[in-house]
């Protein structure tokens, strides 16, 4: 039972504003004459963080609390304790801080706003460095949305976003996984004998068929998370794989957007991960997801098959 006074439209509007303010804040704080990219030791979290990572999160929290009185907020930079009901938000205003620091792109500002009593996700949002803001609306679950801004006129526009259908075999697909840290990379590459053997075969084919029409086109990228999920929607990559588990703030906004846009989401036993399951999981934001997100059923099944036990 909902116990807040705000309409869904109002909440989505505040969500979009929060993301836009965070992106604006990040860009301002990382200007050459600013200190936003300095790393600082945070006693409470017991870890090093970019100043801008901590501060953008704090600004977003302050803004949300101002606009949506009584909202409970969780985030990697604050706390991941379980929501206790009512209006709630899980924020990661700088997802991909290492990539921002190195100016490698693929970072984003992400948020999920939910009614933790119902429970239901009211909106999921991902803002990209391009300042495009992708979001979902409960009024139309058949697509994702994107808010763009014309650089010349400064006019905003809302568009519906649906993935283009594409059937692609794994041997020709662009596949991503989170492999930037040594542990994650080795965990993935040694995950199953089946996967290792398959990769060896494709590699041999790619070499032997180098000049042939049907040479495998597979590419592998060691990036995952919300920004890559937007890339999947936009047709730049075909699948994202995570075997050891990513926390809700790193995946839920992207999951919701990708599902609404038409992507296929499976767990590692090839069962669909539904919006209902995602909603239940986010109530405890420290929950993790192991998953395959793909542009088609066939591709998802092929990948899960290789990740299964040998």
């Amino acid at each position: 039972m909902s116990n807040h006074i705000y309409s869904d439209d109002r909440i989505v509007q505040v969500g979009i504003e929060t993301i836009e303010r965070a992106l604006n804040y990040i860009y301002t704080r990382i200007a050459p004459d600013k200190q936003g990219l300095d790393e600082v030791w945070y006693p409470r979290l017991q870890k090093w963080l970019l100043m801008v990572d901590h501060d953008a999160q704090l600004v977003a929290e302050e803004f949300l609390e101002t606009e949506l009185s009584g909202i409970q907020i969780r985030g990697e930079e604050s706390t991941l304790s379980t929501f206790t009901g009512g209006l709630a938000a899980l924020l990661d205003m700088l997802d991909g801080s290492d990539l921002l620091k190195r100016n490698l792109g693929n970072w984003c500002s992400a948020a999920t706003i939910l009614d933790a009593s119902a429970p239901r996700i009211i909106t999921a949002l991902v803002g990209l460095p391009s300042r495009e803001i992708y979001f979902t609306q409960s009024s139309n679950p058949t697509c994702a949305y994107v808010r763009t801004r014309d650089d010349n006129s400064a006019d905003y526009q809302i568009s519906e976003v649906r993935m283009s259908l594409r059937e692609i075999r794994l041997r020709d697909a662009s596949v991503c996984f989170y492999g930037q840290k040594p542990g994650r990379l080795t965990q993935f590459s040694s995950s199953t004998t089946k996967l290792g053997e398959w990769l060896r075969r494709v590699s041999e084919q790619a070499e032997s068929k180098k000049r042939e029409f049907d040479c495998p086109k597979m590419r592998i990228y060691t990036l995952a998370g919300n920004p890559m999920m937007i890339s999947l929607i936009e047709g730049r990559v075909d699948a994202i794989v995570e075997i050891s588990g990513q926390k809700c703030h790193d995946v839920v906004p992207g999951f919701m957007l990708a599902l609404r846009a038409g992507a296929v989401l499976r767990d590692l036993s090839n069962k669909s991960i539904t919006e209902e399951q995602i909603t239940q999981a986010i109530l405890s934001p420290a929950s993790k997801f192991s998953y395959v997100l793909a542009s088609s059923e066939t591709l998802a099944t092929e990948i899960v098959g290789l990740l299964g036990q040998p």
């Binding site: 604006n24 804040y25 600004v59 302050e62 808010r147 809302i158 568009s159 519906e160």
Partner: protein, 74 residues
């Protein structure tokens, strides 16, 4: 099939389909915060920094930068 099509096949990425939404009520700039609102939000953040165990210098840098940024229009 024309002669050009017979000579080569084209491969390209397939971006998402975008359709301008009928409802454009969300197509607007964030509201401009008043100087007072910006000041109060930055001040609350300052207190949060201190409560988190960050130094006063850090909290003051946060407050100063944040107040300035929040007052800017989009």
């Amino acid at each position: 099939m024309d002669s050009a099509s017979e000579m080569f096949e084209v491969r390209k990425l397939r971006p998402a389909e975008r359709k301008v939404a009928a409802d454009q009520s969300l197509a607007k700039a964030p509201r401009q915060l008043s100087p007072q609102e910006a000041k109060e939000m930055a001040q609350r953040g300052y207190k949060a920094c201190i409560e988190e165990g960050l130094s006063e210098d850090y909290a003051e840098l946060y407050r100063r930068e944040t107040e300035q940024i929040l007052q800017k229009s989009f």
